[in-house]
Symmetry: C2
Subunit: 333 residues, 2 copies
Protein backbone atom coordinates (compact mmCIF):
# COMPACT_ATOMS: atom_id res chain seq x y z
CA UNK A 1 0.00 0.00 0.00
CA UNK A 2 1.13 3.52 -0.75
CA UNK A 3 1.29 6.10 2.00
CA UNK A 4 -1.59 8.05 0.47
CA UNK A 5 -3.76 4.94 0.60
CA UNK A 6 -2.72 4.11 4.18
CA UNK A 7 -3.22 7.68 5.32
CA UNK A 8 -6.64 7.75 3.66
CA UNK A 9 -7.65 4.50 5.35
CA UNK A 10 -6.66 5.88 8.75
CA UNK A 11 -8.28 9.23 8.06
CA UNK A 12 -11.64 7.49 7.88
CA UNK A 13 -10.97 6.45 11.46
CA UNK A 14 -10.71 9.99 12.67
CA UNK A 15 -13.61 11.87 14.13
CA UNK A 16 -15.09 14.55 11.90
CA UNK A 17 -17.31 15.77 14.69
CA UNK A 18 -17.09 15.60 18.45
CA UNK A 19 -18.08 17.99 21.23
CA UNK A 20 -15.64 20.89 21.24
CA UNK A 21 -13.83 19.70 18.13
CA UNK A 22 -14.01 22.58 15.66
CA UNK A 23 -11.63 20.99 13.14
CA UNK A 24 -10.48 17.38 13.14
CA UNK A 25 -7.98 15.84 10.76
CA UNK A 26 -7.44 17.60 7.43
CA UNK A 27 -5.81 20.90 8.32
CA UNK A 28 -2.40 21.82 9.73
CA UNK A 29 -3.74 21.45 13.28
CA UNK A 30 -6.81 20.14 15.03
CA UNK A 31 -8.86 22.96 16.55
CA UNK A 32 -10.49 22.44 19.94
CA UNK A 33 -12.68 24.81 21.88
CA UNK A 34 -12.34 24.74 25.67
CA UNK A 35 -14.50 27.36 27.32
CA UNK A 36 -13.42 30.69 25.89
CA UNK A 37 -10.02 29.36 24.82
CA UNK A 38 -9.38 27.80 21.42
CA UNK A 39 -6.50 25.40 21.12
CA UNK A 40 -4.53 24.10 18.19
CA UNK A 41 -2.98 20.64 18.37
CA UNK A 42 -0.51 19.06 15.96
CA UNK A 43 1.57 15.87 15.91
CA UNK A 44 4.63 15.15 13.77
CA UNK A 45 7.58 12.81 13.99
CA UNK A 46 11.18 12.66 12.84
CA UNK A 47 12.30 9.08 12.35
CA UNK A 48 15.83 7.92 11.60
CA UNK A 49 16.19 6.42 8.14
CA UNK A 50 12.92 8.04 7.03
CA UNK A 51 13.17 11.74 7.85
CA UNK A 52 16.88 11.97 8.59
CA UNK A 53 20.13 10.06 8.77
CA UNK A 54 22.28 10.22 11.86
CA UNK A 55 25.45 10.60 9.79
CA UNK A 56 24.32 13.63 7.82
CA UNK A 57 22.89 15.92 10.47
CA UNK A 58 23.85 16.96 14.00
CA UNK A 59 21.90 15.96 17.12
CA UNK A 60 21.49 19.63 17.96
CA UNK A 61 19.87 20.38 14.61
CA UNK A 62 17.74 17.28 14.97
CA UNK A 63 16.46 18.49 18.34
CA UNK A 64 15.58 21.85 16.85
CA UNK A 65 13.97 20.48 13.72
CA UNK A 66 11.64 17.98 15.40
CA UNK A 67 10.12 20.86 17.33
CA UNK A 68 10.29 23.29 14.38
CA UNK A 69 8.16 21.21 12.01
CA UNK A 70 5.38 21.15 14.60
CA UNK A 71 5.68 24.86 15.36
CA UNK A 72 5.29 25.47 11.64
CA UNK A 73 1.86 23.80 11.75
CA UNK A 74 0.81 26.09 14.59
CA UNK A 75 2.17 29.06 12.59
CA UNK A 76 0.09 28.04 9.57
CA UNK A 77 -3.12 28.64 11.52
CA UNK A 78 -1.90 31.85 13.13
CA UNK A 79 -1.47 30.36 16.60
CA UNK A 80 0.92 30.83 19.45
CA UNK A 81 2.70 27.61 20.43
CA UNK A 82 2.49 26.94 24.15
CA UNK A 83 3.19 23.34 25.24
CA UNK A 84 5.13 20.45 23.73
CA UNK A 85 5.00 16.73 24.53
CA UNK A 86 7.90 14.56 23.46
CA UNK A 87 7.84 10.85 22.72
CA UNK A 88 11.48 9.90 22.51
CA UNK A 89 12.61 6.55 21.10
CA UNK A 90 16.34 5.88 21.49
CA UNK A 91 18.55 3.01 20.38
CA UNK A 92 20.54 1.61 23.31
CA UNK A 93 23.95 2.54 21.87
CA UNK A 94 23.71 6.31 21.61
CA UNK A 95 26.74 8.13 22.98
CA UNK A 96 26.15 10.47 25.90
CA UNK A 97 27.41 13.47 23.92
CA UNK A 98 24.73 12.81 21.29
CA UNK A 99 21.98 12.99 23.92
CA UNK A 100 23.46 16.15 25.41
CA UNK A 101 23.41 17.89 22.02
CA UNK A 102 19.93 16.62 21.24
CA UNK A 103 18.66 18.09 24.52
CA UNK A 104 20.45 21.34 23.76
CA UNK A 105 18.72 21.61 20.38
CA UNK A 106 15.32 20.92 21.90
CA UNK A 107 15.91 23.44 24.67
CA UNK A 108 17.10 26.15 22.28
CA UNK A 109 14.12 25.78 19.98
CA UNK A 110 11.64 25.66 22.88
CA UNK A 111 13.12 28.79 24.45
CA UNK A 112 13.28 30.67 21.17
CA UNK A 113 9.56 30.20 20.56
CA UNK A 114 8.38 30.34 24.18
CA UNK A 115 7.22 26.73 24.28
CA UNK A 116 7.16 24.75 27.53
CA UNK A 117 8.17 21.09 27.26
CA UNK A 118 5.41 19.85 29.49
CA UNK A 119 5.55 16.06 29.26
CA UNK A 120 6.66 13.02 27.39
CA UNK A 121 7.83 9.47 27.47
CA UNK A 122 11.15 7.79 26.74
CA UNK A 123 11.53 4.29 25.38
CA UNK A 124 14.04 2.09 23.68
CA UNK A 125 13.80 2.08 19.88
CA UNK A 126 15.77 -0.74 18.27
CA UNK A 127 15.16 0.56 14.73
CA UNK A 128 16.75 3.96 15.29
CA UNK A 129 16.03 7.34 16.82
CA UNK A 130 12.41 8.41 16.80
CA UNK A 131 11.29 11.86 17.90
CA UNK A 132 7.54 12.28 18.18
CA UNK A 133 6.23 15.68 19.13
CA UNK A 134 2.75 16.90 19.94
CA UNK A 135 2.46 20.66 20.25
CA UNK A 136 -0.50 22.55 21.72
CA UNK A 137 -0.90 26.16 20.68
CA UNK A 138 -3.35 28.90 21.47
CA UNK A 139 -5.40 30.48 18.72
CA UNK A 140 -6.22 34.16 18.70
CA UNK A 141 -9.70 35.42 17.88
CA UNK A 142 -9.09 34.53 14.22
CA UNK A 143 -7.83 31.25 12.76
CA UNK A 144 -6.59 30.64 9.21
CA UNK A 145 -7.85 27.35 7.80
CA UNK A 146 -6.75 25.84 4.53
CA UNK A 147 -10.23 26.31 3.16
CA UNK A 148 -10.76 30.06 3.10
CA UNK A 149 -9.25 31.05 -0.29
CA UNK A 150 -11.51 32.89 -2.77
CA UNK A 151 -11.02 33.72 -6.47
CA UNK A 152 -9.12 36.98 -6.79
CA UNK A 153 -7.03 36.38 -3.70
CA UNK A 154 -3.29 36.80 -4.22
CA UNK A 155 -0.93 33.99 -3.24
CA UNK A 156 2.10 34.90 -1.16
CA UNK A 157 4.97 32.87 0.24
CA UNK A 158 7.24 33.88 3.09
CA UNK A 159 10.66 32.93 1.67
CA UNK A 160 12.81 31.00 -0.78
CA UNK A 161 11.55 27.64 -1.99
CA UNK A 162 13.37 24.49 -3.02
CA UNK A 163 16.14 25.23 -0.55
CA UNK A 164 15.49 22.25 1.71
CA UNK A 165 15.23 19.79 -1.18
CA UNK A 166 18.60 20.97 -2.48
CA UNK A 167 20.06 20.78 1.03
CA UNK A 168 18.80 17.21 1.42
CA UNK A 169 20.45 16.23 -1.88
CA UNK A 170 23.70 17.88 -0.83
CA UNK A 171 23.82 16.19 2.54
CA UNK A 172 22.78 12.69 1.49
CA UNK A 173 24.13 12.08 -2.01
CA UNK A 174 27.74 11.16 -1.46
CA UNK A 175 28.66 11.46 -5.12
CA UNK A 176 26.79 14.60 -5.99
CA UNK A 177 28.67 17.03 -8.20
CA UNK A 178 29.02 19.80 -5.65
CA UNK A 179 32.49 20.79 -6.76
CA UNK A 180 31.07 23.81 -8.52
CA UNK A 181 29.15 25.06 -5.47
CA UNK A 182 30.61 27.59 -3.06
CA UNK A 183 30.89 26.47 0.58
CA UNK A 184 28.60 29.32 1.62
CA UNK A 185 25.85 28.23 -0.78
CA UNK A 186 26.29 24.65 0.34
CA UNK A 187 25.95 25.64 4.00
CA UNK A 188 22.90 27.78 3.26
CA UNK A 189 21.07 24.96 1.49
CA UNK A 190 21.98 22.24 3.99
CA UNK A 191 20.91 24.51 6.85
CA UNK A 192 17.58 25.13 5.12
CA UNK A 193 16.92 21.41 5.27
CA UNK A 194 18.32 20.63 8.69
CA UNK A 195 17.41 23.83 10.50
CA UNK A 196 14.10 25.21 9.23
CA UNK A 197 12.80 28.35 10.88
CA UNK A 198 9.07 28.14 11.51
CA UNK A 199 7.37 31.43 10.66
CA UNK A 200 5.53 31.64 13.97
CA UNK A 201 5.41 35.40 14.48
CA UNK A 202 4.64 36.09 10.86
CA UNK A 203 1.77 33.59 10.94
CA UNK A 204 0.22 35.29 13.96
CA UNK A 205 0.59 38.72 12.38
CA UNK A 206 -0.99 37.66 9.08
CA UNK A 207 -4.02 36.09 10.72
CA UNK A 208 -4.55 38.79 13.35
CA UNK A 209 -4.55 41.51 10.68
CA UNK A 210 -6.76 39.60 8.27
CA UNK A 211 -3.98 39.25 5.67
CA UNK A 212 -4.33 35.45 5.50
CA UNK A 213 -7.75 34.23 4.46
CA UNK A 214 -6.38 30.69 3.99
CA UNK A 215 -2.95 29.41 4.92
CA UNK A 216 -0.80 26.26 4.89
CA UNK A 217 2.83 25.55 5.68
CA UNK A 218 5.01 24.18 2.91
CA UNK A 219 6.06 20.75 4.10
CA UNK A 220 5.28 18.57 1.04
CA UNK A 221 6.29 21.14 -1.58
CA UNK A 222 4.58 24.13 -3.20
CA UNK A 223 2.76 22.17 -5.92
CA UNK A 224 1.45 19.62 -3.47
CA UNK A 225 0.53 22.02 -0.66
CA UNK A 226 -1.06 24.51 -3.04
CA UNK A 227 -3.13 21.55 -4.25
CA UNK A 228 -4.26 20.96 -0.64
CA UNK A 229 -5.16 24.63 -0.25
CA UNK A 230 -7.16 24.65 -3.47
CA UNK A 231 -8.99 21.41 -2.78
CA UNK A 232 -9.91 22.57 0.74
CA UNK A 233 -11.33 25.82 -0.64
CA UNK A 234 -13.01 24.39 -3.74
CA UNK A 235 -10.93 26.74 -5.90
CA UNK A 236 -7.87 26.64 -8.20
CA UNK A 237 -4.73 28.71 -8.64
CA UNK A 238 -2.41 30.20 -11.22
CA UNK A 239 1.28 30.43 -10.35
CA UNK A 240 3.86 32.41 -12.38
CA UNK A 241 7.19 30.70 -13.02
CA UNK A 242 8.93 34.06 -13.12
CA UNK A 243 7.63 34.92 -9.65
CA UNK A 244 8.88 31.82 -7.85
CA UNK A 245 11.26 32.82 -5.05
CA UNK A 246 14.58 31.29 -6.09
CA UNK A 247 17.72 31.97 -4.12
CA UNK A 248 21.10 32.49 -5.78
CA UNK A 249 22.22 29.32 -3.97
CA UNK A 250 19.46 27.24 -5.54
CA UNK A 251 20.09 28.79 -8.98
CA UNK A 252 23.72 27.71 -8.64
CA UNK A 253 22.98 24.24 -7.29
CA UNK A 254 20.05 23.02 -9.40
CA UNK A 255 21.97 22.77 -12.72
CA UNK A 256 24.54 20.52 -11.03
CA UNK A 257 21.84 17.84 -10.86
CA UNK A 258 20.44 18.70 -14.27
CA UNK A 259 17.37 20.17 -12.54
CA UNK A 260 15.77 23.54 -13.04
CA UNK A 261 15.52 25.70 -9.92
CA UNK A 262 11.86 26.36 -10.76
CA UNK A 263 11.11 22.64 -10.72
CA UNK A 264 12.89 22.21 -7.38
CA UNK A 265 10.95 25.16 -5.94
CA UNK A 266 7.66 23.63 -7.09
CA UNK A 267 8.28 20.03 -6.04
CA UNK A 268 10.78 20.18 -3.18
CA UNK A 269 9.44 19.58 0.32
CA UNK A 270 10.34 20.71 3.84
CA UNK A 271 10.90 24.41 3.25
CA UNK A 272 8.45 25.21 6.09
CA UNK A 273 7.64 28.57 4.62
CA UNK A 274 4.05 29.80 4.75
CA UNK A 275 1.75 29.98 1.71
CA UNK A 276 -1.40 32.06 2.07
CA UNK A 277 -4.23 33.77 0.22
CA UNK A 278 -4.68 37.54 0.60
CA UNK A 279 -8.03 39.24 -0.10
CA UNK A 280 -7.92 41.92 -2.86
CA UNK A 281 -8.26 44.97 -0.62
CA UNK A 282 -5.13 44.09 1.37
CA UNK A 283 -2.80 42.91 -1.39
CA UNK A 284 -1.13 46.27 -1.93
CA UNK A 285 -0.43 47.09 1.69
CA UNK A 286 0.82 43.69 2.82
CA UNK A 287 4.45 43.65 1.58
CA UNK A 288 5.28 47.02 3.14
CA UNK A 289 3.63 46.07 6.43
CA UNK A 290 5.61 42.85 6.68
CA UNK A 291 8.82 44.61 5.64
CA UNK A 292 8.27 47.14 8.40
CA UNK A 293 7.38 44.66 11.17
CA UNK A 294 9.70 41.79 10.32
CA UNK A 295 12.26 43.15 7.84
CA UNK A 296 11.07 40.33 5.61
CA UNK A 297 10.59 40.43 1.83
CA UNK A 298 7.50 38.53 0.70
CA UNK A 299 6.96 36.89 -2.66
CA UNK A 300 3.70 37.17 -4.58
CA UNK A 301 3.62 34.08 -6.74
CA UNK A 302 0.15 33.99 -8.28
CA UNK A 303 -3.56 34.12 -7.56
CA UNK A 304 -6.64 32.06 -6.77
CA UNK A 305 -8.95 31.30 -9.72
CA UNK A 306 -12.45 29.82 -9.74
CA UNK A 307 -11.53 26.85 -12.00
CA UNK A 308 -10.53 23.85 -9.88
CA UNK A 309 -7.05 23.32 -11.29
CA UNK A 310 -3.55 24.51 -10.49
CA UNK A 311 -1.84 26.14 -13.47
CA UNK A 312 1.76 27.17 -13.97
CA UNK A 313 2.26 30.10 -16.34
CA UNK A 314 5.66 30.37 -18.00
CA UNK A 315 6.44 33.06 -20.63
CA UNK A 316 2.74 33.56 -21.29
CA UNK A 317 1.92 29.84 -21.70
CA UNK A 318 -0.06 27.91 -19.09
CA UNK A 319 0.30 24.27 -18.21
CA UNK A 320 -1.42 22.09 -15.65
CA UNK A 321 0.82 21.73 -12.63
CA UNK A 322 1.35 18.11 -11.66
CA UNK A 323 2.79 17.19 -8.35
CA UNK A 324 4.08 14.17 -6.62
CA UNK A 325 3.26 14.00 -2.93
CA UNK A 326 6.24 13.00 -0.86
CA UNK A 327 5.66 9.32 -0.12
CA UNK A 328 7.50 8.22 3.02
CA UNK A 329 6.62 4.63 2.22
CA UNK A 330 8.36 4.74 -1.14
CA UNK A 331 11.16 7.25 -0.61
CA UNK A 332 14.27 7.04 1.48
CA UNK A 333 15.49 10.03 3.48
CA UNK B 1 23.17 4.60 29.90
CA UNK B 2 20.24 3.09 31.74
CA UNK B 3 16.73 4.26 31.01
CA UNK B 4 16.43 5.87 34.45
CA UNK B 5 19.54 7.93 33.75
CA UNK B 6 18.36 8.91 30.27
CA UNK B 7 14.89 9.76 31.52
CA UNK B 8 16.37 11.83 34.34
CA UNK B 9 18.61 13.71 31.92
CA UNK B 10 15.62 14.56 29.71
CA UNK B 11 13.46 15.44 32.70
CA UNK B 12 15.79 18.28 33.48
CA UNK B 13 14.89 19.62 30.06
CA UNK B 14 11.24 19.86 30.89
CA UNK B 15 9.61 23.00 32.14
CA UNK B 16 8.69 22.99 35.82
CA UNK B 17 6.84 26.26 35.46
CA UNK B 18 5.21 28.02 32.57
CA UNK B 19 2.10 30.18 32.25
CA UNK B 20 -0.95 27.95 32.60
CA UNK B 21 1.11 24.87 33.38
CA UNK B 22 -0.18 23.60 36.74
CA UNK B 23 1.81 20.35 36.63
CA UNK B 24 4.63 19.55 34.22
CA UNK B 25 6.48 16.27 33.98
CA UNK B 26 6.41 14.00 37.05
CA UNK B 27 2.80 12.91 37.36
CA UNK B 28 0.57 10.68 35.25
CA UNK B 29 -0.46 13.66 33.13
CA UNK B 30 0.56 17.25 32.59
CA UNK B 31 -2.10 19.64 33.91
CA UNK B 32 -2.85 22.81 31.96
CA UNK B 33 -5.28 25.57 32.81
CA UNK B 34 -7.05 27.27 29.90
CA UNK B 35 -9.57 29.82 31.08
CA UNK B 36 -12.01 27.97 33.30
CA UNK B 37 -11.15 24.58 31.80
CA UNK B 38 -8.38 22.35 33.15
CA UNK B 39 -6.85 19.85 30.79
CA UNK B 40 -4.83 16.72 31.32
CA UNK B 41 -2.32 15.66 28.68
CA UNK B 42 -0.41 12.38 28.46
CA UNK B 43 1.86 10.73 25.88
CA UNK B 44 2.78 7.06 25.64
CA UNK B 45 3.99 4.74 22.90
CA UNK B 46 3.82 1.08 21.99
CA UNK B 47 6.87 0.05 19.96
CA UNK B 48 7.39 -3.30 18.27
CA UNK B 49 10.20 -5.31 19.83
CA UNK B 50 10.08 -3.16 22.99
CA UNK B 51 6.48 -3.14 24.19
CA UNK B 52 5.09 -5.94 22.06
CA UNK B 53 5.89 -8.54 19.44
CA UNK B 54 3.83 -8.80 16.29
CA UNK B 55 3.75 -12.60 16.52
CA UNK B 56 2.33 -12.78 20.03
CA UNK B 57 -0.55 -10.30 19.96
CA UNK B 58 -3.29 -9.37 17.51
CA UNK B 59 -3.44 -6.05 15.64
CA UNK B 60 -6.89 -5.45 17.13
CA UNK B 61 -5.58 -5.81 20.69
CA UNK B 62 -2.62 -3.66 19.80
CA UNK B 63 -4.92 -0.90 18.60
CA UNK B 64 -6.90 -1.07 21.82
CA UNK B 65 -3.90 -1.22 24.11
CA UNK B 66 -2.01 1.74 22.67
CA UNK B 67 -5.02 3.90 23.49
CA UNK B 68 -5.77 2.12 26.79
CA UNK B 69 -2.39 2.83 28.40
CA UNK B 70 -2.91 6.54 27.79
CA UNK B 71 -6.51 6.50 29.03
CA UNK B 72 -5.20 4.90 32.20
CA UNK B 73 -3.04 7.97 32.84
CA UNK B 74 -6.09 10.22 32.47
CA UNK B 75 -8.00 7.87 34.82
CA UNK B 76 -5.24 8.15 37.44
CA UNK B 77 -5.92 11.88 37.81
CA UNK B 78 -9.69 11.50 37.75
CA UNK B 79 -10.13 13.00 34.29
CA UNK B 80 -12.42 12.37 31.38
CA UNK B 81 -10.54 11.51 28.17
CA UNK B 82 -11.63 13.66 25.22
CA UNK B 83 -9.23 13.78 22.27
CA UNK B 84 -6.50 11.49 20.96
CA UNK B 85 -3.67 12.19 18.53
CA UNK B 86 -1.97 9.26 16.84
CA UNK B 87 1.56 9.11 15.48
CA UNK B 88 1.65 5.95 13.44
CA UNK B 89 4.90 4.41 12.21
CA UNK B 90 4.43 1.47 9.86
CA UNK B 91 6.89 -0.86 8.15
CA UNK B 92 6.28 -1.00 4.38
CA UNK B 93 5.38 -4.70 4.34
CA UNK B 94 2.31 -4.81 6.58
CA UNK B 95 -0.58 -6.78 5.12
CA UNK B 96 -3.81 -4.90 4.50
CA UNK B 97 -5.73 -7.14 6.91
CA UNK B 98 -3.34 -6.17 9.70
CA UNK B 99 -4.07 -2.48 9.17
CA UNK B 100 -7.81 -3.13 9.05
CA UNK B 101 -7.71 -4.92 12.41
CA UNK B 102 -5.46 -2.27 13.93
CA UNK B 103 -7.94 0.42 12.92
CA UNK B 104 -10.79 -1.67 14.32
CA UNK B 105 -9.06 -1.94 17.71
CA UNK B 106 -8.38 1.80 17.81
CA UNK B 107 -11.97 2.60 16.85
CA UNK B 108 -13.45 0.21 19.43
CA UNK B 109 -11.38 1.61 22.27
CA UNK B 110 -12.05 5.21 21.26
CA UNK B 111 -15.79 4.61 21.07
CA UNK B 112 -15.91 2.71 24.33
CA UNK B 113 -14.38 5.59 26.24
CA UNK B 114 -15.90 8.44 24.25
CA UNK B 115 -12.61 9.67 22.84
CA UNK B 116 -12.40 11.48 19.50
CA UNK B 117 -9.39 10.67 17.34
CA UNK B 118 -8.72 14.24 16.37
CA UNK B 119 -5.41 14.19 14.52
CA UNK B 120 -2.20 12.42 13.77
CA UNK B 121 0.55 11.64 11.36
CA UNK B 122 1.55 8.51 9.48
CA UNK B 123 5.09 7.67 8.47
CA UNK B 124 7.21 4.75 7.38
CA UNK B 125 9.01 3.00 10.24
CA UNK B 126 11.72 0.62 9.02
CA UNK B 127 12.38 -0.75 12.53
CA UNK B 128 8.85 -1.99 13.14
CA UNK B 129 5.41 -0.75 14.11
CA UNK B 130 5.34 2.28 16.36
CA UNK B 131 2.13 3.64 17.88
CA UNK B 132 2.51 6.98 19.64
CA UNK B 133 -0.54 8.42 21.31
CA UNK B 134 -1.16 11.74 22.96
CA UNK B 135 -4.45 11.98 24.81
CA UNK B 136 -6.06 15.16 26.10
CA UNK B 137 -8.58 14.80 28.91
CA UNK B 138 -10.72 17.15 30.89
CA UNK B 139 -10.33 17.43 34.63
CA UNK B 140 -13.27 17.91 36.95
CA UNK B 141 -13.16 20.43 39.78
CA UNK B 142 -10.83 18.08 41.69
CA UNK B 143 -7.63 16.42 40.46
CA UNK B 144 -5.74 13.56 42.12
CA UNK B 145 -1.99 14.07 42.01
CA UNK B 146 0.58 11.54 43.08
CA UNK B 147 1.63 13.80 45.91
CA UNK B 148 -1.41 14.03 48.15
CA UNK B 149 -1.02 10.95 50.40
CA UNK B 150 -0.90 11.51 54.19
CA UNK B 151 0.01 9.16 57.06
CA UNK B 152 -3.06 7.20 58.12
CA UNK B 153 -4.49 7.03 54.60
CA UNK B 154 -5.46 3.55 53.48
CA UNK B 155 -4.06 2.16 50.23
CA UNK B 156 -6.50 0.59 47.80
CA UNK B 157 -6.09 -1.05 44.42
CA UNK B 158 -8.81 -1.60 41.84
CA UNK B 159 -8.14 -5.20 40.78
CA UNK B 160 -5.84 -8.20 40.56
CA UNK B 161 -2.10 -7.58 40.28
CA UNK B 162 0.66 -9.52 38.53
CA UNK B 163 -1.79 -10.65 35.86
CA UNK B 164 -0.15 -8.78 32.99
CA UNK B 165 3.36 -9.94 33.91
CA UNK B 166 2.17 -13.55 33.92
CA UNK B 167 0.37 -12.97 30.62
CA UNK B 168 3.52 -11.54 29.05
CA UNK B 169 5.50 -14.58 30.16
CA UNK B 170 2.87 -16.92 28.76
CA UNK B 171 2.73 -15.20 25.39
CA UNK B 172 6.45 -14.68 24.83
CA UNK B 173 8.28 -17.60 26.40
CA UNK B 174 8.03 -20.37 23.84
CA UNK B 175 9.25 -23.06 26.20
CA UNK B 176 7.37 -22.07 29.30
CA UNK B 177 5.92 -24.94 31.31
CA UNK B 178 2.29 -24.08 30.79
CA UNK B 179 1.15 -27.65 30.49
CA UNK B 180 -0.28 -27.48 33.98
CA UNK B 181 -2.32 -24.34 33.32
CA UNK B 182 -5.95 -24.47 32.22
CA UNK B 183 -6.78 -22.78 28.88
CA UNK B 184 -9.16 -20.42 30.69
CA UNK B 185 -6.47 -19.24 33.12
CA UNK B 186 -4.05 -18.87 30.24
CA UNK B 187 -6.53 -16.74 28.26
CA UNK B 188 -7.30 -14.62 31.32
CA UNK B 189 -3.64 -13.83 31.98
CA UNK B 190 -2.70 -13.19 28.34
CA UNK B 191 -5.74 -10.91 27.96
CA UNK B 192 -4.68 -8.98 31.06
CA UNK B 193 -1.42 -8.15 29.31
CA UNK B 194 -2.69 -7.55 25.80
CA UNK B 195 -6.05 -6.01 26.59
CA UNK B 196 -5.87 -3.90 29.75
CA UNK B 197 -9.03 -2.08 30.79
CA UNK B 198 -8.29 1.45 31.94
CA UNK B 199 -10.31 2.33 35.04
CA UNK B 200 -11.61 5.58 33.62
CA UNK B 201 -15.04 5.74 35.25
CA UNK B 202 -13.75 4.53 38.60
CA UNK B 203 -10.99 7.16 38.55
CA UNK B 204 -13.50 9.94 37.97
CA UNK B 205 -15.77 8.64 40.73
CA UNK B 206 -12.96 8.36 43.29
CA UNK B 207 -11.70 11.86 42.67
CA UNK B 208 -15.10 13.53 42.44
CA UNK B 209 -16.18 12.01 45.77
CA UNK B 210 -12.90 12.77 47.53
CA UNK B 211 -12.02 9.08 47.93
CA UNK B 212 -8.63 9.48 46.26
CA UNK B 213 -6.30 11.94 47.93
CA UNK B 214 -3.40 10.69 45.82
CA UNK B 215 -3.51 8.30 42.89
CA UNK B 216 -1.31 6.60 40.28
CA UNK B 217 -1.92 3.94 37.67
CA UNK B 218 0.05 0.72 37.96
CA UNK B 219 2.19 0.58 34.84
CA UNK B 220 5.66 -0.19 36.26
CA UNK B 221 4.44 -2.53 39.02
CA UNK B 222 3.05 -2.05 42.52
CA UNK B 223 6.40 -1.79 44.31
CA UNK B 224 7.76 0.71 41.82
CA UNK B 225 4.61 2.83 41.47
CA UNK B 226 3.97 2.85 45.21
CA UNK B 227 7.52 4.15 45.50
CA UNK B 228 6.60 7.00 43.11
CA UNK B 229 3.50 7.79 45.15
CA UNK B 230 5.44 7.84 48.42
CA UNK B 231 8.31 9.93 47.06
CA UNK B 232 5.90 12.46 45.57
CA UNK B 233 4.10 12.81 48.91
CA UNK B 234 7.14 12.74 51.18
CA UNK B 235 5.69 9.72 52.98
CA UNK B 236 6.13 5.94 53.18
CA UNK B 237 3.85 2.92 53.12
CA UNK B 238 3.25 -0.48 54.67
CA UNK B 239 1.81 -3.21 52.47
CA UNK B 240 0.47 -6.54 53.76
CA UNK B 241 1.46 -9.65 51.80
CA UNK B 242 -1.77 -11.35 52.83
CA UNK B 243 -3.82 -8.49 51.36
CA UNK B 244 -2.31 -8.48 47.89
CA UNK B 245 -5.02 -9.16 45.30
CA UNK B 246 -4.00 -12.45 43.71
CA UNK B 247 -6.24 -14.17 41.19
CA UNK B 248 -6.68 -17.94 41.11
CA UNK B 249 -5.09 -17.83 37.64
CA UNK B 250 -1.93 -16.16 38.97
CA UNK B 251 -1.79 -18.53 41.94
CA UNK B 252 -1.88 -21.42 39.48
CA UNK B 253 0.64 -19.93 37.05
CA UNK B 254 3.34 -18.43 39.28
CA UNK B 255 4.66 -21.75 40.65
CA UNK B 256 5.20 -22.98 37.08
CA UNK B 257 8.03 -20.46 36.79
CA UNK B 258 9.21 -21.04 40.34
CA UNK B 259 7.87 -17.60 41.29
CA UNK B 260 5.59 -16.63 44.14
CA UNK B 261 2.35 -14.95 43.14
CA UNK B 262 3.02 -12.27 45.78
CA UNK B 263 6.34 -11.42 44.15
CA UNK B 264 4.74 -11.22 40.71
CA UNK B 265 1.99 -8.97 42.10
CA UNK B 266 4.59 -6.66 43.65
CA UNK B 267 7.03 -6.47 40.74
CA UNK B 268 4.98 -7.15 37.61
CA UNK B 269 4.19 -4.19 35.39
CA UNK B 270 1.36 -3.21 33.03
CA UNK B 271 -1.66 -4.17 35.11
CA UNK B 272 -3.09 -0.66 34.60
CA UNK B 273 -5.10 -0.88 37.79
CA UNK B 274 -5.38 2.20 40.00
CA UNK B 275 -3.57 2.61 43.33
CA UNK B 276 -4.79 5.37 45.61
CA UNK B 277 -4.74 6.77 49.14
CA UNK B 278 -8.02 7.17 51.02
CA UNK B 279 -8.37 9.58 53.95
CA UNK B 280 -9.40 7.95 57.28
CA UNK B 281 -12.98 9.23 57.40
CA UNK B 282 -13.86 7.61 54.06
CA UNK B 283 -12.10 4.26 54.37
CA UNK B 284 -15.10 2.38 55.73
CA UNK B 285 -17.67 3.59 53.24
CA UNK B 286 -15.57 3.28 50.06
CA UNK B 287 -15.80 -0.46 49.27
CA UNK B 288 -19.61 -0.56 49.52
CA UNK B 289 -19.94 2.60 47.41
CA UNK B 290 -17.77 1.18 44.65
CA UNK B 291 -19.52 -2.17 44.83
CA UNK B 292 -22.85 -0.42 44.42
CA UNK B 293 -21.82 1.90 41.55
CA UNK B 294 -19.51 -0.39 39.60
CA UNK B 295 -20.09 -3.92 40.91
CA UNK B 296 -16.37 -3.90 41.59
CA UNK B 297 -14.58 -5.46 44.59
CA UNK B 298 -11.73 -3.26 45.84
CA UNK B 299 -8.63 -4.44 47.67
CA UNK B 300 -7.22 -2.66 50.68
CA UNK B 301 -3.54 -3.53 50.67
CA UNK B 302 -1.96 -1.34 53.35
CA UNK B 303 -1.54 2.19 54.60
CA UNK B 304 0.55 5.33 54.38
CA UNK B 305 3.12 5.84 57.17
CA UNK B 306 5.19 8.91 58.03
CA UNK B 307 8.58 7.11 57.69
CA UNK B 308 9.91 7.49 54.15
CA UNK B 309 10.21 3.83 53.28
CA UNK B 310 8.05 1.17 51.71
CA UNK B 311 7.63 -1.91 53.93
CA UNK B 312 6.17 -5.29 53.14
CA UNK B 313 4.67 -7.08 56.15
CA UNK B 314 4.44 -10.86 55.91
CA UNK B 315 3.21 -13.02 58.84
CA UNK B 316 3.93 -10.23 61.28
CA UNK B 317 7.48 -9.53 60.03
CA UNK B 318 8.35 -6.38 58.05
CA UNK B 319 10.98 -6.07 55.36
CA UNK B 320 12.02 -3.17 53.18
CA UNK B 321 10.41 -3.53 49.79
CA UNK B 322 12.93 -3.34 46.99
CA UNK B 323 11.82 -2.83 43.46
CA UNK B 324 13.27 -2.91 40.04
CA UNK B 325 11.80 -0.34 37.71
CA UNK B 326 11.05 -1.81 34.34
CA UNK B 327 13.99 -0.74 32.19
CA UNK B 328 13.06 -0.63 28.51
CA UNK B 329 16.69 -0.11 27.63
CA UNK B 330 17.78 -3.35 29.28
CA UNK B 331 14.74 -5.58 28.89
CA UNK B 332 13.22 -7.14 25.83
CA UNK B 333 9.45 -7.32 25.39
Amino acid sequence: MKEAEIVASFQRLFARQAPGLVQGIGDDCAVIRAGRATWLVTTDSQVEGVHFRRETTTPRRLGRKCLAVNLSDIAAMGGRPRYAFLSLGLPPDLPRVFLTSLRRGLREEAERYGVALAGGDTHRSPGGISLGLTVIGEAGSRIAYRSGARPGDALFVSGFLGQAAAGLKLSTEPNNPVGGLSPAYRRELVAAHQCPRPQVELGQFLVRRGYARAMIDLSDGLASDLGHLCRAGGVGARVYSESLPLSPALRAAAPLWGSSPEEMALQGGEDYQLLWAVPPALQESLPAQVKRHFGLVLFRIGEIIPQKRVLLKTSGRSRLLRFRGYDHFAAQA
